[in-house]
Amino acid sequence: MQSSRRNFIKTAGCLTIGFCLGGRPYRGSYPGAAIPADGSVTQPLSAATNFWPGEGDRINSWLEVLADGRIRVLTGKLELGQGIRTAVAQVAAEELDLEMSQVEVTLAETDVTLNEGYTAGSGSIENSAMAIRNAAATARQKLLELAAQKMKVPVTELTMAQGRIGLKNGTPGPGSENGIRGLPFKSESLTFAEVLEGRQLTDEVRLPVNLKPKENRRLVGKAIPREDISHMVAGEPVYVQDLRFPGMVHARVVRPPAYGARLLHFNEQVVKDKIPSLLTTVVNGSFLAVITTDEYQAVQAQQLLRENSQWSDGPALPKVSGEQLADYLISLPVQTQRVAEKGDSTFLAGDTTLSGQATLKARYSKPYIMHGSIGPSCAVALYDENKLHIWTHSQGVYPLRDSLAALLHLPAANIHVKGVPGSGCYGHNGADDVAADAALLAVAYPGKHVRLQWSREDEHSWEPYGSAMVMEAAARLDGSGKISHWKFALWSDTHGTRPGGKANNLLAARYLEKPFTERPSGFSGGAYRNSEPYYSIPNQQVQAHFFDGPLRTSSLRSLGAYANLFAIESFMDELAVKAGKDPYEFRLMHLDDPRAKEVVRKLQSVTQDQAAPHTHTGTGTSTGTHTGKGTGMGMAFSRYENRKAYCAVAARVAVNPQTGMVQVQKMWAVIDAGEVINLDGIKNQTEGSMIQSASWTLLEQVHFDQRHITSRNWDSYPIFRFSQVPEVEVVVLDRPAEEPLGAGEAAQGPAAAAIVNAIYRACGRRVRHLPVAAAKLIG
């Protein structure tokens, strides 16, 4: 960090942007629990986080005191609609006894916030918010110590409220620390800024830090409303799409007609003749774009160029659709990785047909699914005086900067990337690609802010999808109905081709005159996320087979966990039927973890007597026979990544016997995400996760023909509309003594399985291939 900038209080809005630091890797976690809480051993914050030695160790890496006494929190994460802006403000306001309005938040920006890698994997609470909490608690101690010196009184006689420090009143009342209205001071008090006399707090944050006792907390754990919603609802400029700069110009890229197509010829004269506000046409190999002063004319120029350009065909995509896709994918060459082996793993060894010893075996599949952001990706770029500025809704400003440096052959130090919220992304969508497109265009057309808005079709047909997957499960039950042997295999393409500092993962890189041709790659662990059952099974084997599939893929909410849990929790349901057990009882029989058991039991009690209105099909008796009358209840459980939030989901569905159409009537979730930071944040994420997962499960698959993606709008790739959305109910189990855990992805997998398990209870048909095919549920 630029310490000179950070060491002094500056007024908001007049900071100059610095350029420094080279490329760095981007992973890590926050194992705060590994540090003894008794303070017998301490270590710098950076040693316990994903930051580089020394970086992130200082209080002012995370928060600054503003001249007016408020504080500014600096998070390396971006607001994606998950409410992280509010959560990080809450933990800081809590430790420093501020009001929420006294905390402003600066989101991810190179050389301004720390390099916190990607805003992904439900890690923002676990990493960024916890670092900010510790920095704020350290700041509290330091501020009190400095004030004590200044006021020549012992620290113990001082207290803090609303950004001021003063002598304790002695009689806490409505104006006490807990109340914060009015000031709790005996006499005069000092603002934080006065205590610091223009300096910033540069002290080291050493863990463990004494945090505010849980019983004194007034913000953390509560449903503190998100302030940004009132700005959004009023139409204030919130999004990267809303940025306007003087003289800003508009661009559109003419994408090829196929992944591998090459530009042969285009008729530039047509756009010159017909587009009055055309500024330039940019062509670099097969990367073709227009820049205009008028946005709608850019749209028209894009269409004109599409009609007046010739492209080579490129390699054909496979001619497969629907369930044939699964057969096709497992026929591809694979690289195999052992994920887990336990006990007697020779079970079914060499038995490729999975016959013989298994009580039950099944194959499941899910198709390619898209992120489907409602607002297509957008970026603004300016190349001026050898500096490139990017405004982006990318989930990782630092890795994007380094990827752009590689793409454009510019020093990373000359690139400034500022995160600005966009439409919800749910993973790696077109955000980085549109930023790279805009960067290429800004370099080609320097001196102006170039705004590039992808079209709906651009986003639908070029974003990196969640990989199609195939899962095979086999298991043996012992005499008591417990699972003795378990075998699970999955087939998947990569779930991780984020930029990661490389040029070749950016879409445009493949089409340049000097292209980056290496197949996009990155984090490989996503495919087998949650492929190990969280159940106690003595003998197990789990394998992951990686193929290079036909479509572009990357990280979509929960990565492989959605498909793996759809399969595992469907299979558990099938096994429960075989064993003649209730689905709740069957899971409880195989769970050792008390927290896991509690979410399952809580779900059971919440959904008791919640079978469809006018029917009497209690969940406790549904041991394998369907309930008739076309409605059914299903449930599923998982612990995300087998180490994060616990979540059990139930669904009630109605299946129309004439049409096979499934209506999800209601979904319930019970979630234990450890210590709750924002109660409504967890509820909102979990409600949304269930609804989104239900849409994936019932409706969604990316279609393609031999040329290219054919799912290019909301008709050819439908998602849930209001008529399809279930009622939702979320119960949050707060664990104030436990580590807080990210909650954004926990329901994604169990929601899918709960729905198909409910369909089985409703009509007796077992859905093993997604999306749910109505035709197979008729009758």
Binding site: M232, G235, Y296
Partner: protein
């Protein structure tokens, strides 16, 4: 290019535009409004919704020349004539906007424009909609974050406020 007169949020505007330009682009670029959003450009998602003479109407395919004398209202002008700032900052919120804030009916919020305006339009036609009528009234607007359950609660809250008046 032609000079086109528009009545937006209670004010008259004279803009220079190709008459075929969809209203969405004129509102966002010529008038610097942020409420209406680009989502699909083909009237499938509702992000670009405006009130046209009080009725929720997608603006992404509507040629600006076709507006004639209709009154256009965006999120910025929903609570009444826009105040001092061009974005309506500081102006009070419409009861439907307030209901959305109170229910925290958003995640990313990109769809909120279409949701709020569809709800206003619905409640004008049917002040006491039941669950099915709310879903039908909101059907054109897509949300990917899965906040529809909250949005339904917000519309019910706004309708209840309506009732008590």
């Amino acid at each position: 290019m032609a000079t086109i007169e528009l009545r937006v949020n209670g004010k008259k505007h004279s803009v220079q535009a190709d008459p075929a330009t969809p209203l969405l682009y004129v509102l966002r670029n010529q008038l610097a409004l942020n409420g209406p959003k680009y989502g699909c450009g083909i009237q499938q998602c509702g992000a670009c919704m405006v009130l046209l003479d009080g009725k929720a109407t997608p603006s992404c395919m509507l040629p600006v020349e076709a507006i004639k004398n209709s009154a256009i209202v965006t999120l910025e002008g929903l609570a009444g004539p826009v105040g001092s700032g061009p974005t309506g900052a500081g102006s009070p919120l419409h009861p439907v906007q307030t209901a959305f804030v109170e229910e925290q009916a958003a995640q990313c919020g990109y769809c909120l424009n279409g949701m709020v305006l569809s709800a206003v339009s619905l409640l004008q036609e049917n002040p006491h909609p039941d669950d099915a009528a709310i879903r039908a009234g909101m059907q054109r607007s897509l949300c990917r974050c899965g906040t529809q359950a909250r949005i339904i609660r917000a519309v019910k809250r706004a309708a209840a406020g309506h009732r008590s008046k």
